[in-house]
Symmetry: C2
Subunit: 202 residues, 2 copies
């Protein structure tokens, strides 16, 4: 059996063990038991428990990033594409929070275990926003001379709708109105934004 | 001595006691001792410990609100006035957090003890933002047909720089750049914002 053991199988089993026992109680022995192997077999793939937990977190985030790749629909303005993307992100966070609270809570814990993980995630997500903004600059719908900085500003301005620290606000009956108003303001800003230096001439 | 005891003196003493002992340990007896009166004298002004704590929190917030009243300088655009106001708020939060961490932490706890208190605070602060936006609509610098909703959107879009859940990010060496980029985007949006229904015509 040990020769058939893949890293992917270990990661899938680890996610299931974490979901079942929670991040505080899950152990490498639990993962090995779930796979019917010795814990030594697991350690041959992942040198430490921390390395295993980080790998399963990255795997989960990579799947999120894959799902969040922006789709450019011919019938939509780039502003509408951005709004759809931010709505998809918000719905994913909200529903993750309300529909599978154990797994959501588990990954909230795991993401914070290493400083590298949230940085990896945010860098990737801001990169996806930058891809949408670049498309808008190309069609002259958006104005910015620093796509990366503007993408970070869009990410930061919408944190209420994706940062886990705000999760308890997502059940508020007016939260969708708040989302619509912020996104409308942000998209208007993208259509008219000047960097502080350029704005001085206006 | 008891006849000279005012609510204001009790509130000032309560703030000092909370600062010294922390919100978990401070008691009405500590407040009475600090004032040299019986705890019965304190209860004649505030019926319960919760009422006393809520009153001291409102008093603290009222002082914050007073300091945050926007100033309209003839030499500034309304956009610059808003940026200055948001910067003042951010600096107040940051410095409160780093320079007087005990008092800041104390009021973070107190603010959350009653649902009415954060609502009271946010309603007031969003009202101050609305006052600035109204001034911008009057000078035709800003465009919006719903000042209150737009003020709430500005508040929500800048939460990274005033919501206590983000306090640990305020020491980041790039946080001022992030502030500048978000505020620039938001002000550009105010100059160009249309509500979703009106935007459909554009």
């Amino acid at each position: 059996m040990a020769e058939a053991l893949t890293s992917e199988a270990i990661l899938a089993a680890t996610e299931e063990v974490l979901r079942r026992y929670g991040p505080a109680k899950a152990t490498v022995v639990d993962v090995a038991k779930a796979l019917g192997v010795s814990h030594g077999s697991v350690y041959r793939h992942f040198a430490t428990k921390a390395a295993l937990r980080e790998a399963v977190t990255r795997r989960w985030l990579d799947a999120v990033h894959e799902q969040m790749t922006p789709r450019f629909d011919q019938g939509l303005t780039v502003g509408e594409t951005l709004k759809t993307w931010l709505q998809q992100l918000f719905d994913k966070k909200r529903h993750g929070h309300t529909e599978d609270p154990e797994l959501f809570a588990t990954f909230q814990v795991l993401v914070k275990e290493s400083k590298a993980i949230p940085e990896y995630h945010i860098r990737h997500m801001v990169g996806l926003v930058a891809r949408i903004i670049s498309a808008g600059v190309e069609t002259q719908e958006f104005v910015t001379d620093d796509v990366a900085a503007t993408a970070k500003a869009v990410w930061d301005a919408t944190e209420k709708f994706h940062h886990p620290a705000h999760a308890q606000e997502w059940g508020d009956p007016h939260i969708q109105d708040a989302f619509d108003a912020v996104v409308s303001l942000v998209i208007a800003g993208l259509r008219y934004n000047r960097t502080p230096s350029a704005a001085g001439d206006a």
